[in-house]
């Protein structure tokens, strides 16, 4: 196994830092999957993490000026590492005005991702700061647990309203209830609802638009006969949704969500070279 990558461009560094920050806000630990073309931050839903899953995909070439990888074997040219994104985020934070940042897989007292930043200094020699982030190398037999999640057979897919608006609505609703119902239909309408013994609050959004999924997408094919006005709804832990809206620093060009009635809320953020998917399971 070998891995070595380098970022020189400050824009790329900032962008990468934002993605890592976003991931670090969502989870304490996740899997970093490295392939020749992509980096993935993966969280597979477990009971311990509240059942949420995350899939964040980055196109390597848009971030790194150099990227060398030799996976575990020729037929499986990949590396799976368990990392603490918070550490990575902290290491990148100290490298914000670096001339270059290198990330390397190293063997210290334990396997580490070593991040070295070349910083401007007062002298002719650069200042070098290195951070060794302990990681766990995930054996190949466990890779299956971290495969790309299937696109769920959703009932409704809809574009999200402006995220700031949505965030402020959710932030306020959180004060009233622990659970939030997200419902949407194929007519571009979406409602955020809370219901408690004392109060029911609904925020209505309209004319949001429904993404045109292709032949393989389930919106147009398998559910062709869905009534446009019929709402699909899912009830989720409001903290999970809030965490996602608060922590995101990706500022996606497209944000949408898929609802599987009564089962799952699937949020998708798309940016030029980043995609972030977040799955929040429904609670009864």
């Amino acid at each position: 196994m070998k891995f070595r990558a380098k970022i020189v461009d400050v824009g790329c560094l900032n962008h990468f830092t934002r993605v890592v920050n976003t991931v670090s806000k969502l989870t304490k630990a996740c899997v970093l999957r490295l392939t020749c073309d992509h980096l993935y931050f993966v969280l597979s839903g477990r009971v311990a993490t509240g059942g949420v899953s995350m899939w964040c995909e980055l196109l390597q070439v848009n971030f790194f000026d150099e990227f060398q990888l030799e996976g575990v074997s020729a037929d499986a040219n990949e590396i799976f590492l368990e990392v603490a994104p918070e550490n990575l985020s902290r290491a990148l934070k100290t490298a914000q005005n670096a001339k270059s940042v290198k990330i390397k897989l190293t063997k210290k007292s334990c396997p580490c991702l070593t991040l070295a930043a070349e910083l401007p200094s007062l002298s002719s020699l650069s200042r070098v700061v290195t951070h060794d982030l302990p990681v766990d190398v995930i054996p190949r037999r466990l890779w299956y647990d971290f495969r790309e999640p299937q696109m769920p057979e959703f009932d409704v897919s809809i574009y999200l309203p402006p995220l700031k608006t949505m965030k402020s609505v959710v932030d306020r609703m959180k004060n009233l209830s622990n659970y939030l119902v997200v419902e949407a239909n194929l007519n571009g309408k979406m409602n955020l609802k809370i219901e408690t013994d004392l109060v029911s609050v609904t925020t209505h959004f309209k004319e949001l638009g429904n993404p045109p999924w292709g032949e393989d997408g389930s919106q147009s094919s398998s559910r062709t006969h869905r009534e446009p006005e019929l709402m699909a709804e899912t009830r989720v832990d409001i903290r999970k949704l809030q965490q996602f809206l608060t922590g995101q620093q990706v500022n996606p060009s497209r944000a949408m969500c898929n609802i599987v009635d009564g089962r799952i809320l699937h949020l998708i953020f798309l940016h030029e070279d980043v995609s972030l998917q977040y799955f929040i399971p429904a609670v009864v």
């Binding site: 070595r4 210290k108 060794d132 302990p134």
Partner: protein, 381 residues
């Protein structure tokens, strides 16, 4: 006692109080003819800080008629007087510190704009002089840097980090986070920063060494040095003997004396967690060099070589340290304690101003007895 500080010096005074508050719970105040001394020591007596403000620092300085007057008070109450630095800077024109011996109060009066007067009457306790035993001139290694360099350096370490390790060679300085070698912390992120000697104003290293000390107090002094734009000097020897941080100006001098980890516990940690970096012969930037295979070699090596600068037979800390004769008692106490002790509380003789030697010994014994209790408590907790 009656002293008046004006203008920018009020802020300097406030900053000094703030950095002392990082050290201990109590502020020791000692007004003498050659200036006002503000001191503090932490509960385990492993860190001591002293600000010596010369009479010229003040617009008016008058030492108390009773030459032996010293007092201490909770630092929190003094800090409250100088709480908001920004409003202090904006509105306070003059600060007057007076001793009201009739009422046994220390009166701090802030003269603000528009004739506003803020008067604080602080109660105090009489105490003996607090003085650490240290001699920075005898230290073999000296570094001096602008506060900006130190601030930028410390920024790379997490705020939660308690101790930092500093290694020096003839032309470089390395800082890394110090991690106790129990199983839990082996998962901690290790950070290392390398600075070239050129970045320092003064760089005099006579022996390669590696010391570990608390970051909190350094941060405290940095806050002061940065606001007053004064360079920081570090004086140190081998592990186990204190590091002295010094900031000097024409009208003031600050000395922070911090215990360092002694060799035995220190070398253990070093072998486990750190690589062979401080060797001067090693290409220092090996990480930045572009060969991809270098890390593979390291991966295959199961045993990392120990750092060469650690002596082969670790000496007892007691033999390692240079102490003044009056500290004999303390050394005995040190020798008896369990080897996993962290910092040596080393440099204190708490001394009465009287020249009588017998008196002095008795005093230091008393203080030492309470010290070791303190330490044991912190350790069991």
């Amino acid at each position: 006692m009656d002293c008046v500080a004006t203008g920018a010096n009020v802020k300097v005074l406030a900053k000094a109080i703030h950095s002392l508050s990082r050290i201990g719970e109590e502020l020791y105040l000692e007004p003498v003819d050659d200036g006002l001394a503000l001191r503090s020591v932490n509960s385990s007596r492993s860190a001591f800080a002293s600000f010596q403000l010369s009479p010229l620092f003040f617009q008016r300085y008058q030492a108390p008629t009773d030459q032996s007057f010293r007092c201490k008070m909770p630092i929190k109450s003094v800090q409250a007087v100088f709480k908001s630095l920004s409003s202090l800077e904006r509105s306070v024109e003059k600060c007057r510190i007076q001793l009201n011996s009739e009422k046994s109060r220390l009166t701090i009066t802030l003269h603000c704009k528009h004739g506003l007067l803020k008067t604080h009457n602080l109660s105090f306790q009489d105490c003996e002089s607090l003085q650490a035993v240290f001699d920075k001139e005898s230290c073999t290694n000296v570094l001096q840097a602008q506060p900006r360099l130190m601030v930028d350096t410390v920024l790379h370490f997490p705020p939660s980090l308690e101790e930092v390790n500093l290694s020096v060679s003839s032309d470089r300085v390395w800082l890394r986070n110090h991690v106790e070698d129990d199983a839990d912390s082996s998962r901690a992120m290790m950070t290392e920063l390398c600075l070239s000697s050129e970045e320092f104003d003064h760089f005099a290293i006579s022996s390669q060494t590696s010391i570990t000390f608390c970051l909190k107090e350094l941060r405290g002094l940095l806050g002061f040095a940065e606001s007053s734009c004064l360079p920081i000097s570090m004086y140190f020897d081998e592990p186990g003997s204190p590091v002295i941080l010094n900031v000097t100006d024409s009208v003031l001098e600050a000395n922070f004396v911090l215990a360092t980890l002694s060799e035995d516990s220190h070398s253990k940690n070093h072998v486990n967690s750190n690589t062979k970096r401080p060797d001067a012969e090693q290409p220092p930037d090996d990480f930045m060099s572009d060969d991809m295979d270098s890390f593979l070699i390291a991966m295959e090596t199961s045993e990392l070589p120990g750092p060469s600068h650690v002596p082969t037979s670790p000496l007892q800390p007691i033999n390692n340290r240079k102490h003044s004769a009056s500290d004999d008692e303390e050394e005995e106490a040190l020798a008896e304690r369990p080897p996993n002790k962290k910092f040596c509380s080393l440099f204190f003789g708490s001394v009465l101003p009287t020249p009588s030697l017998t008196n002095q010994t008795i005093q230091s014994q008393e203080v030492l007895a309470s010290d070791s209790e303190d330490e044991n408590q912190t350790e069991t907790s």
